[in-house]
């Protein structure tokens, strides 16, 4: 194993019109890490995810993944290198049954090379591998759930389906854009061990989250964004004690005093 980090984001910036959505953000993800990205609404979390995964081309800076300079690549090429993402607004193929949703990623060049999660695609047909992946991710195999239309699945399953779609590529890094949002407490409770299982499989994760309690249980390192700048980075419990972070979430003391 090389000592180089799996993903290096080096000072990337992005402006939309006059708005600086991201300015000079850097981060590193090592193999096996779960890195959290938090920040108030509009702080540039999703733009950061989009710039890494190629859906937005950063104006400046570099993204290096696994030794490849992937800055400005097309999303499908980045995914082909093993960096996939989920979407905050779930994007299943609504007109297909759940397990058929996985046929599409399993049909991609990368999945044909790697065989999908755990390489099952090299042994079985795509339908079987799709059902295998869904079973691992919490779709009960003997039930009718994997065969239901994606349009009729509840949010919890759709979030899992998003993750399953990533796993079908046998990725090295998954960027999860708010996988916990919109889930009930029990759904979240069953999602946590799933993420831990992925980490044990050797998959690194970047988790963009608003659910801080769940995130802190999982991640060993957290990055805080505000107004497109990285304001803090460090161990979860310590980061929240920092003055800058508190100000970002609750406003500065002077501001608060003005209202009082």
């Amino acid at each position: 194993m090389s000592d180089q980090p799996l993903l290096t984001v080096d000072n990337i910036s992005k402006t939309f019109g006059g708005v600086a959505a991201l300015s000079m953000v850097s981060l590193e993800v090592n193999r096996g890490d779960i890195v959290g990205i938090i920040g108030p609404n509009g702080s540039g979390k999703t733009t950061l995810v989009n710039s890494i995964s190629g859906f937005v081309k950063p104006d400046r800076g570099k993204v290096i993944f696994n030794g490849h300079d992937i800055t400005g690549w097309d999303p499908h090429k980045i995914a082909d290198k093993g960096l996939t993402r989920t979407f905050q607004v779930m994007r299943p193929y609504y007109s297909l049954p759940a397990f058929k949703n996985l046929i599409i990623p399993l049909f991609s060049p990368r999945a044909k090379r790697t065989g999908g999660w755990r390489g099952g695609g090299k042994m079985g047909s795509r339908d079987t591998v799709a059902l295998d992946i869904l079973e691992e991710i919490g779709f009960e195999r003997d039930s009718y759930v994997p065969y239901k239309m994606a349009s009729s699945l509840p949010t919890g399953y759709l979030k899992r389906l998003e993750l399953a779609r990533c796993l079908a590529l046998r990725p090295e890094l998954i960027i999860c854009d708010e996988v916990f949002s919109g889930l009930s407490m029990s759904e979240m409770a069953s999602m946590l061990p799933l993420i831990e299982k992925l980490q044990m499989e050797g998959i690194s994760l970047i988790m963009v989250e608003h659910r801080l309690r769940e995130l802190f249980r999982l991640s060993n390192r957290v990055i805080v964004l505000n107004f497109g700048c990285k304001i803090a980075e460090g161990v979860s419990s310590e980061v929240m004690e920092l003055k800058e972070v508190k100000e970002a979430y609750f406003g500065s003391e002077e501001e608060v005093l003005e209202y009082v």
């Binding site: 049909f107 060049p109 999945a111 795509r126």
Partner: protein, 340 residues
């Protein structure tokens, strides 16, 4: 009567479910097999028998050829719009490119007719794909607008530069040795297109196509190059159109500017609306209705456009799902009154 209605209700039983869910049940009895096969056989045998049935009326035999060409375009429109998610109004362009390629090969290089048609199909489709390539990132109505522009553009370019015979077109292209060959070539092409596309959309490639239609972002995130698949879709669709165009130029023994006409872009859409989008057979049925209607109304001159518009409006307002979707639903369901 009122009492009657109170005491009974309409019960719907989906008889198709058994047959549609698993192929296994379909072969369990002759009744089931015939239930599955009958409508398909009607379509295939009906189309194959049409030239023989129309033998006494040669004029309508000619119309049948035109129906088939429009059907090919309508199938390609339906495939692109409902399975790849590209609403292409470029039907006129496909026909024109196919017609010109076939005519040029035939006139300039003296290539016989049974080589020009397949070559025009492949080369024409390649030309269409390359021309459409820059527009593939566009979606929805923007793609439709650009694709509508191509037939107009091509006709004006040929006119202005006075190439390929200019406004006169290319005259003196070889005709078919017999109308039978011409008609059966077209009918078999329509059947093959329907069969091939209906098979393909259920294969894994077809799922990728429908993924591109449903949401292309997720397909990108799955490591699949969507431009490649959109281009493949355009290639398949335009090869149908170019085939039709090549045959058309040999039927008329002429390739000219009117083969870039808007009719070829618009009528397939109308046929798809009437026949039922997303069924791939519906568009053929739509053409079987629309093209003869427009032939019958030929005597009324421009008034036929009005009749045409009324028919289309009625369909969109009252049966927007189309004939094929409606018919297959009725076919697959029993309806009966039961007393409560």
């Amino acid at each position: 009567m009122a009492v009657d209605q109170k005491d009974r209700r309409k019960e719907r039983i989906d008889r198709g479910i058994k047959v549609r869910s698993d192929g296994v049940y379909a072969i369990s009895s002759w009744l089931e097999i015939s239930y599955l096969v009958a409508p398909r056989l009607l379509f295939i045998v009906g189309l194959l028998a049409a030239p023989i049935l129309l033998l006494p009326v040669p004029y309508w035999q000619k119309v049948l050829s035109i129906i088939c060409i429009y059907s090919l375009l309508a199938i390609s429109f339906d495939f692109l719009a409902n399975y790849v998610g590209l609403v292409s109004l470029g039907g006129g362009f496909y026909i024109g490119v196919g017609a010109y390629v076939a005519a040029l090969l035939n006139m300039k290089f003296n290539i016989p007719i049974f080589v020009t048609i397949p070559v025009a199909t492949v080369v024409g489709a390649a030309i269409c794909t390359v021309v459409f390539l820059p527009c593939l990132p566009l979606r929805g109505v923007y793609f439709a607008i650009v694709s509508l522009m191509f037939p107009l553009l091509a006709a004006r370019v040929i006119e202005a530069l006075d190439i390929f015979g200019g406004t006169d077109g290319i005259v003196g292209v070889d005709g078919f040795s017999s109308t039978w060959i011409e008609q059966y070539l077209l009918i078999i092409a329509v059947l093959a297109a329907v069969f091939f596309l209906r098979r393909m959309i259920t294969e894994d490639v077809g799922l990728v196509f429908s993924g591109v239609k449903d949401n292309d972002q997720a397909v990108k995130a799955s490591g699949i190059n969507i431009t490649k698949y959109k281009a493949l879709g355009i290639f398949i669709a335009s090869s149908l159109g170019c085939f039709g165009g090549a045959v058309l130029s040999h039927i008329y023994m002429w390739a000219g500017l009117s083969q870039f006409a808007l009719d070829f872009s618009i009528i397939p859409i109308a046929a798809t609306v009437i026949g039922g989008g997303g069924t791939l057979i519906g568009p053929v049925i739509g053409c079987l209705i629309l093209v003869p209607v427009s032939e019958l109304l030929r005597d009324f001159g421009t008034l036929r456009i009005a009749v045409y518009a009324i028919v289309l409006t009625l369909f969109i307002v009252y049966k927007s799902e189309g004939i094929m979707v409606y018919a297959s639903r009725k076919y697959e369901q029993f309806e009966r009154w039961v007393s409560i």
